[in-house]
C-alpha cells in the first residue's frame, strides 16, 4: 500500500471500523478504538491536504475504472479542506465522548453508539471525497441515517421526536437531490461531476437542466438548514446528546455547504447558476433573513443548546450569503466561515456538554454564578460566543471581514450593514450568557459544582484555541479558502 490510496482509505477506514467497533462490547474498548480511528483519519487528511496544495488535484479511480465510467474520487483544495475540518473535529470530539456519552446514554448501547458515529463520519467524509453525483447521494443518506440514530439516542423523549422530524425532512431533501441527479443523468448520460460539468455546459437551455438545478438546490438547502428549511435543526441540536450536537454542528451543515458549492460552481458553473438561474436573488435575501431571524430568535431562548442551535441558523446564513456573492472575497468568506464556525460552534457545544456533565442542565438559569465555579468551561463558552459576534482577534472576525468586503465590492452597502447588524444581534444573546455566568450570584442552596474533568476540557479548548489561533494567523485558512474560491469560480489560481 502506498500513499496513492489515501483518498479511498479516508472513507473506507471508518466504514470498516464501524462494524468492528460494534463487536467490541466493552464501552472503553469501543471508545479507544474509535479515538484511534479518528486520529488516523486526521493524519491522513493532513497528508492529503499537503499533497493537494503541492501537486494540485488528485484523481483516484475506484477499482481502477477510468472516469467517467468508473467512480472517481477527486480531491482539490476545497474538499481536502472540508475533509480536514471534519476529521479534525472528529479527532477532537471523539476523546471527549467517553465521559459525556457515559453520562448521557445508557450503558448497553455504547458500542452501538460508536459504531453509528463512525458510520456518520464515513458518510460525511465520503460526500466530501467523491467526484460522483450518485455517490454524493448515497453518502449523504449514510451520514443522515446515522445522524437520525445519534440524535434519537438523546436522553429526553423529545430526542426521538426531533430525530423523526429530521428523518422526514432529511429524506425529502435527499430524494430531491436524487431527482435532480436523475434528471442530469437523463440529459447527459454521466454521473461524474467533472464530466457532468462539461456536458451540462453543452445543453444549458434545456428544461430538465433547470428542473435538476432547482431540485438539487432545494434538496441541499434542506441539509444545510438555510432559512426557511431549517426547522429540523433547533430540535435536533437541542435534544441530541451533547457530544453529538457538537459533532453535527461542526460537521454536518458544513458538508451541506460544501455540496452546495460543488453543485452550484463546479457542476452547473457560476455562469449558469447566477446568470441563467436567479440563485443570487434567491440565496441572498434568504441568507440575510436567516442571519437576522436566526440570531433574533436565539435571543429569546432559555435553553442554551437551543439558543446556540438558532445561532447556527444565523451563522449558516453567513455561509450562504458568502456563496451568493459569487465573487472571490464572498466565497473566501464562506469557505473560511465553514471552518471557523465549525471550530467555534463545536467548541461551544462541547462546553455546554461540560456544563451538562456537572450541573445536569443547560438552562440559562443554571449558568448563574458558574463563572467562578467552572472558570475554564465558562471562559470557553465566552470565547466561542465572542467569536460568533465576530470580535476582532477571533476567527469570526476574519469571516465577517471578507463577507463585508465582498458586499462592499459588489456595491451592496445595505447588505454590509445587515451583516454587521447580525453581529450586534449575536452580541445580545452572547451578552445574556456572559451576564448570567459572571454577574449573577448562584441561587441560594445551589449544589456545589466542580470544574469539568480535564478529558472534556482539553478537547473543548483545542477547538476554541484553534478558533483564536486562526483569528490571528489568517494566512493558513485564508490562503486555502482563496485558492478554493478561485478554483470554484474557474479563475486561474
Amino acid at each position: 500500500m502506498n500513499a496513492g490510496h489515501l483518498p479511498i482509505l479516508q472513507v473506507a477506514l471508518p466504514l470498516i471500523a464501524a462494524p468492528l467497533c460494534v463487536l467490541l462490547r466493552r464501552p472503553a474498548f469501543a471508545w479507544a478504538f474509535t479515538t484511534l480511528v479518528s486520529w488516523a483519519l486526521l493524519a491522513m487528511s493532513i497528508l492529503l491536504l499537503i499533497r493537494v496544495m503541492a501537486d494540485g488535484v488528485i484523481s483516484y479511480r475506484l477499482g481502477g475504472w477510468a472516469p467517467p465510467f468508473g467512480i472517481e474520487y477527486r480531491l482539490d483544495a476545497v474538499n481536502c479542506f472540508v475533509i480536514l475540518v471534519i476529521s479534525a473535529v472528529a479527532a477532537v470530539v471523539t476523546p471527549y465522548m467517553r465521559q459525556s456519552v457515559a453520562r448521557e446514554i445508557t450503558a448497553p448501547r455504547h458500542n452501538l453508539f460508536y459504531g453509528v458515529y463512525l458510520l456518520a463520519l464515513t458518510g460525511l467524509l465520503g460526500i466530501a471525497a467523491t467526484g460522483d453525483a450518485f455517490n454524493i447521494y448515497v453518502f449523504m443518506e449514510i451520514s443522515s441515517l446515522a445522524s437520525y440514530v445519534l440524535i434519537g439516542l438523546g436522553s429526553s423523549r423529545r430526542a426521538r421526536a426531533a430525530a423523526f422530524q429530521y428523518l422526514i425532512m432529511g429524506t425529502i431533501g435527499a430524494t430531491f437531490l436524487l431527482i435532480g441527479i436523475g434528471l442530469l443523468y437523463m440529459m447527459t448520460g454521466t454521473l461524474n461531476l467533472a464530466d457532468l460539468s462539461l456536458r451540462v455546459a453543452e445543453v444549458p437551455d434545456m428544461r430538465p437542466i433547470y428542473a435538476a438545478f432547482a431540485f438539487i438546490t432545494i434538496g441541499v438547502l434542506i441539509k444545510l438548514a438555510l432559512f426557511p428549511l431549517h426547522i429540523w435543526l433547533p430540535n435536533a441540536y437541542t435534544h441530541a446528546p451533547s457530544a453529538v450536537s457538537a459533532f453535527l454542528a461542526a460537521s454536518a451543515t458544513k458538508v451541506g455547504a460544501y455540496v452546495l458549492l460543488r453543485f452550484v460552481f463546479t457542476l452547473f458553473g457560476p455562469e449558469f447558476s447566477f446568470e441563467r438561474m436567479p440563485l443570487m436573488e434567491i440565496l441572498m435575501p434568504l441568507s440575510l433573513i436567516a442571519i437576522l431571524v436566526g440570531s433574533g430568535v436565539a435571543i429569546f431562548q432559555h435553553d442554551l443548546k437551543r439558543l446556540f442551535a438558532y445561532s447556527s441558523i444565523g451563522q449558516i446564513g453567513y455561509i450562504a450569503l458568502g456563496i451568493s456573492f459569487a465573487s472571490t472575497s464572498g466565497l473566501t468568506g464562506a469557505i473560511v466561515h465553514i471552518f471557523n464556525h465549525a471550530m467555534m460552534k463545536g467548541g461551544i457545544f462541547l462546553a455546554l456538554g461540560c456544563m451538562m456533565y456537572r450541573t445536569g442542565s443547560v438552562e440559562l438559569s443554571a449558568l448563574h454564578g458558574l463563572g467562578r465555579r467552572m472558570p475554564f468551561t465558562m471562559a470557553a463558552l465566552i470565547i466561542g460566543g465572542l467569536g460568533l459576534v465576530g470580535v476582532p482577534l477571533t476567527s469570526g472576525f476574519v469571516s465577517k471581514w471578507y463577507l463585508v468586503q465582498a458586499a462592499l465590492e459588489a456595491d451592496l452597502w445595505p447588505v454590509a450593514l445587515l451583516i454587521l447588524l447580525g453581529s450586534l444581534v449575536a452580541l445580545i444573546y452572547v451578552g445574556r450568557v456572559i451576564e448570567a455566568a459572571y454577574f449573577r450570584p448562584p441561587p441560594p442552596g445551589a449544589p456545589a459544582v466542580r470544574e469539568a474533568p480535564w478529558q472534556m476540557l482539553i478537547p473543548t479548548w483545542i477547538l476554541l484555541a484553534a478558533s483564536l489561533y486562526f483569528g490571528v494567523h489568517t494566512d493558513i485558512t485564508v490562503s486555502v479558502a482563496e485558492r478554493g474560491a478561485e478554483m470554484l469560480l474557474g479563475l486561474p489560481a
Partner: protein, 488 residues
C-alpha cells in the same frame, strides 16, 4: 533595545502582569505588589521610547499579516507617544489609589478587577501605538471588552444595566459604523496605514469622503460625541478608580485620540478643512460642548456631573480637529493630556469623598471641605484647570483652541469656547463653595467622625493635582513632542 522590541515590551508588560495576577490571585499582598510593579514597568517601557520619538524617529514593528498588504503593525508617532505616556503614568497613580479604595470599601472580586485593569491598559497602549487602522480597531474593541467587567463590577442590577448600556452603545457604534468605515476605506483605497497627509485624499470622491467622515466620527463612540454619549454616564456605576482612569483618561481619550489620528492620517487636515460638507462636525462638537455642560448643571450625583463634564470636554478635542488648523490641532492634542490630569483628580476626589464620608451627591457636601481640606483643595484645583484658568493645565489647551478659531475667523466657535468656560465655572464652583462655605453658617455637622480619606488616596490625589500645575508651568515638553504633528 530597539524601538520595535520596546513597543512589544510595553504591550507585554500589562498582559504579563494580568497573567501573574491570575496566578497569585488569592494573596492580597502580592496582588497589590504585582499591580504596582507592572504599572511602573509599563511607564518605564513607554518612557524609554520617548527620547527617540522626540528626536524624530518613528519606531515601528510589524507582526503578522491579516490579509495581503494589511499587517498587524505598530508605529509610534508623537500623538500616540503622548497618549501612552499619559495613560501609563496615570495608571501608577491610579493603582496606588485603588489599592486603598478597594480595601477601604470592601469591594469584592479584587483579582478580577486588577486583571481587567491591566488588560485595559494593554489595550490603551495598543491603541496608542497602532500602526494602521485595523490594529487600532482591534485594540479599540479589546478596550471595550476589558472594561465591561469593570463597569459591571459590583454585580448589582443597576451595575448590570449600566454595563449593558455601556457595551451596547460602544460595540454597536464601533461595529455598525467604524468597522464599516474601515472596510470601506480598505476596499476603496487598498491600504489602512496611517500616513501623514491622509490616505483618502484624491482616492475617493468628495461624497464618499463625506459619508466616511460621518461613519468614522460617530463610529468612534468612545469620543462620546452626542448623540452617542449615553454610555459614559452609564459607566459611572463602576468603582471610582475605574471612572477615574478609564472613563476620564484611557477609554475616552482613546476615543478622541482615534479621531485626531483618523483626521491627521486617514483624511489629512487639508482635506478636512477644505471640505465643504465637513462643517457639520463643528456644529456637532459645539452643540455637544454646550448641551453636555447644561446637562451637567442639573446633575446632583457628583460622578454624573463629572461624566457630563467629560462629554463636554471631549468635544473640545473634536472641535479642534474640526477647525483643522495647526493651532487648533495643537490645542486639541494638548487637551488630551491636560483634561486627563484635571479630570482624574476630580474623580479621585469623588471616590475619596465616597470612601471617607459615603457621600455621592453634591447636595450632601455642605461643609465637607472643613473635614477633608486636602481632597476638596485638590478638587478646586481640578475644577479651575477645567475652567481653563491659569496657573493650571487647561489654560494652554484652551488658549491654542482660541488661537485656532481666531486663525479661521470663526467667531461662533470662539463664542462656544467662552460660553462653555462660563458653564464650566457654573457647574464646578458651587461645589467648591458649598464644601468650604456651607450656606447658613455651619448647619448640622456632617455626620460625626468624617475625617480625611486614607493616606494612599491623598497621595494619589496630590500627585495628579500637582500634575495639573506642572503641566501649566512646563508645557515645553508637550510642544516639542507635538510640534511635528502640525508642522509648527
Amino acid at each position: 533595545m530597539s524601538g520595535g522590541a520596546l513597543i512589544l515590551l510595553a504591550l507585554a508588560i500589562p498582559i504579563g502582569g494580568a497573567l501573574l495576577l491570575w496566578v497569585v490571585g488569592r494573596t492580597p499582598f502580592l496582588r497589590n505588589e504585582v499591580s504596582l510593579v507592572t504599572s511602573c514597568g509599563l511607564l518605564a517601557a513607554v518612557a524609554a521610547l520617548t527620547p527617540s520619538v522626540l528626536a524624530g524617529a518613528r519606531p515601528a514593528i510589524s507582526l503578522f499579516e491579516f490579509a495581503p498588504g494589511l499587517a498587524f503593525a505598530f508605529e509610534v508617532e508623537p500623538l500616540g507617544m503622548l497618549f501612552a505616556l499619559l495613560a501609563s503614568f496615570l495608571w501608577i497613580v491610579t493603582t496606588i489609589y485603588s489599592i486603598s479604595y478597594l480595601s477601604a470599601n470592601g469591594e469584592p472580586h479584587r483579582t478580577r478587577f486588577h486583571i481587567c485593569f491591566a488588560l485595559a491598559l494593554a489595550s490603551a497602549v495598543g491603541i496608542a501605538f497602532a500602526g494602521n487602522m485595523l490594529t487600532l480597531f482591534f485594540f479599540y474593541e479589546a478596550l471595550t471588552l476589558c472594561t465591561y467587567p469593570l463597569v459591571a463590577h459590583s454585580g448589582t442590577e443597576e451595575a448590570r444595566r449600566g454595563a449593558r448600556r455601556y457595551l451596547a452603545i460602544l460595540l454597536s457604534t464601533s461595529i455598525m459604523l467604524l468597522l464599516l468605515a474601515v472596510l470601506w476605506t480598505w476596499v476603496a483605497v487598498g491600504t489602512l496605514d496611517f500616513r501623514a497627509g491622509g490616505i483618502l485624499a484624491g482616492q475617493v470622491s468628495e461624497s464618499v469622503m463625506a459619508v466616511l467622515l460621518v461613519l468614522y466620527v460617530f463610529g468612534v463612540g468612545k469620543a462620546a460625541l452626542m448623540p452617542f454619549h449615553g454610555w459614559l454616564p452609564a459607566a459611572m456605576v463602576a468603582p471610582a478608580p475605574v471612572s477615574a482612569l478609564l472613563h476620564a483618561v484611557a477609554v475616552v481619550k482613546a476615543g478622541v485620540f482615534t479621531i485626531v489620528k483618523i483626521a491627521l492620517y486617514i483624511f489629512g487636515l487639508d482635506a478636512i478643512r477644505d471640505f465643504a460638507s465637513g462643517e457639520w462636525l463643528l456644529y456637532v462638537a459645539g452643540a455637544t460642548i454646550l448641551i453636555a455642560s447644561l446637562i451637567a448643571l442639573r446633575q446632583d450625583n457628583l460622578k454624573h456631573r463629572l461624566a457630563y463634564s467629560t462629554v463636554s470636554q471631549l468635544s473640545y478635542v473634536v472641535l479642534g480637529v474640526a477647525i483643522a488648523n495647526a493651532h487648533a490641532v495643537m490645542g486639541a492634542s494638548m487637551h488630551i493630556a491636560m483634561h486627563g490630569f484635571a479630570k482624574i483628580t476630580l474623580f479621585f476626589c469623588a471616590g475619596a469623598i465616597y470612601t471617607a464620608a459615603g457621600k455621592t451627591h453634591i447636595s450632601q457636601l455642605d461643609g465637607i471641605g472643613r473635614r477633608m481640606p486636602v481632597t476638596m483643595g485638590a478638587f478646586a484645583v481640578g475644577a479651575l484647570a477645567l475652567i481653563g484658568l491659569p496657573p493650571f493645565a487647561g489654560a494652554w489647551s484652551k488658549y491654542y483652541l482660541v488661537l485656532g478659531s481666531l486663525d479661521e475667523g470663526d467667531y461662533a466657535v470662539l463664542a462656544v469656547l467662552l460660553v462653555s468656560s462660563l458653564l464650566n465655572a457654573l457647574y464646578f464652583l458651587p461645589i467648591v463653595v458649598r464644601a468650604f462655605f456651607p450656606t447658613g453658617g455651619e448647619p448640622r455637622p456632617v455626620a460625626g467622625g468624617i475625617a480625611e480619606a486614607p493616606k494612599l488616596q491623598l497621595v494619589a490625589i496630590s500627585i495628579t493635582a500637582l500634575g495639573t500645575v506642572a503641566l501649566f508651568a512646563y508645557p515645553q515638553f508637550l510642544f516639542d513632542l507635538l510640534r511635528p504633528l502640525v508642522g509648527m
